[in-house]
């Protein structure tokens, strides 16, 4: 087989292509771009609701736990809004290297947020449960002694569950990769390659 580049280029240009068929069903599913921004809008709504909830609880409880949970929700909301603004600024008709670099930057932000959401979440779940319990029942809980143990147990359970889920479901695998830093390293490598491509 002749592998001379220019000869193959000539053969390529002479070759015809098969006819493509399009299906109406695809119209309902959306594109990567629309799914990205839609997902981020829902995340902002979720974090916004948590900010409001924790804010109202903080108003009545005035506890350190409620303050920590509120700060966590506010930081996560701010990070989600930043991602959403960056994602909405993406224009699919931009030059390829430009858009891909900007998209990869959004991806880096997303992975970082996911990682911190999970890591901080494993520490803050117990204060969150206590704050919520007190807000719902009005009964004060003194769990100073078992607090650390519960956190540790939960952290181990989450790690075990994520590991198990990552073997079963590709989506969970993505979460595990984000927590371990694997996804972030990969996204940063991709971003570096994209920048080099434009140089």
């Amino acid at each position: 087989m002749n592998s001379d580049f220019d000869h193959l280029t000539q053969r390529w240009r002479e070759a015809g292509v098969p006819r493509l068929q399009f299906h109406q069903a695809m119209l309902a599913s959306g594109t990567h771009f629309s799914r990205l921004t839609r997902g981020l809008v829902w995340e902002c709504v979720g974090w916004g609701a948590l900010v409001l909830l924790m804010g109202s609880i903080l108003g009545s409880q005035r506890s350190l736990y409620a303050l920590l949970c509120h700060i966590y929700a506010v930081v996560m909301l701010a990070m989600s809004i930043r991602e959403l603004i960056s994602a909405r600024a993406l224009d699919v008709a931009e030059p390829v290297a430009v858009l891909q670099r900007r998209w990869e930057e959004v991806e880096v932000l997303r992975i970082r947020r996911l990682k911190w959401a999970i890591l901080a979440g494993t520490v803050l779940w117990a204060p969150f449960a206590i704050v919520l319990w007190q807000a719902c029942t009005g009964i004060r809980v003194n769990v100073r002694g078992i607090w650390m143990g519960a956190n540790l147990g939960f952290g181990l359970a989450v790690a075990g569950l994520t590991l198990w889920l990552s073997r079963r479901y590709p989506g969970a695998h993505r979460i595990w990769r984000a927590v371990s830093g694997e996804s972030l390293a990969e996204a940063e490598r991709a971003l570096r390659r994209l920048r080099e491509f434009q140089e």
Binding site: S3, W12, F22, M26, V92, A93, Q100, F197
Partner: protein, 154 residues
């Protein structure tokens, strides 16, 4: 002529772009079909923003390649295998020589794949630069390097 009719006509005239982009960025036949559909849908959604004073093929290449490369992000690390061409039904295959090119191009990095595809489709370096967002000189240099690397492996 309505926007829908105009879009359908332009898509029909530029089917070659859709075919090649989906061939080079998706591994299996169903994935290629899905990718072509997704590109067509994104083109339709972006069509109201298309400036008729500009070249349609440049606009279409940008969107098609952006959608295709972004779809790879969902499945990082996945490369087109050397056996993929053999999985194609006979009716979907072009000449053996073109198949060899498909296999070789599919092994390149996503942006390099775009560069080679645009060159193979006969675009000038300034056009390639405009589609990819790099200078014509940069496009030419990168292509020369790719050609040299291929000669080394031939």
């Amino acid at each position: 002529m309505s926007d829908k009719d105009r879009f359908a006509l332009l898509l029909e005239q530029h089917q070659r772009i859709l075919y090649h982009v989906s061939r080079l960025y998706a591994r299996t036949a169903p994935q290629r079909e899905d990718l072509a559909q997704e590109i067509a849908l994104q083109l339709w959604r972006s069509f109201p923003a298309f400036d008729p004073a500009r070249k349609f093929s440049t606009w279409m290449y940008r969107i098609a390649l952006n959608v295709a490369i972004s779809s790879l992000r969902q499945d990082r690390g996945a490369a087109v295998s050397l056996t993929d061409a053999a999985e194609l039904p006979a009716a979907d295959r072009v000449s053996d020589e073109a198949e060899e090119l498909y296999r070789r191009v599919a092994q390149l990095e996503p942006l390099e794949r775009s560069l080679v595809l645009l060159y193979l489709e006969g675009h000038s370096f300034p056009e390639i630069g405009e589609i990819l967002g790099i200078t014509a000189t940069n496009a030419s240099t990168k292509l020369t390097r790719i050609k040299q690397a291929w000669k080394g492996t031939a």
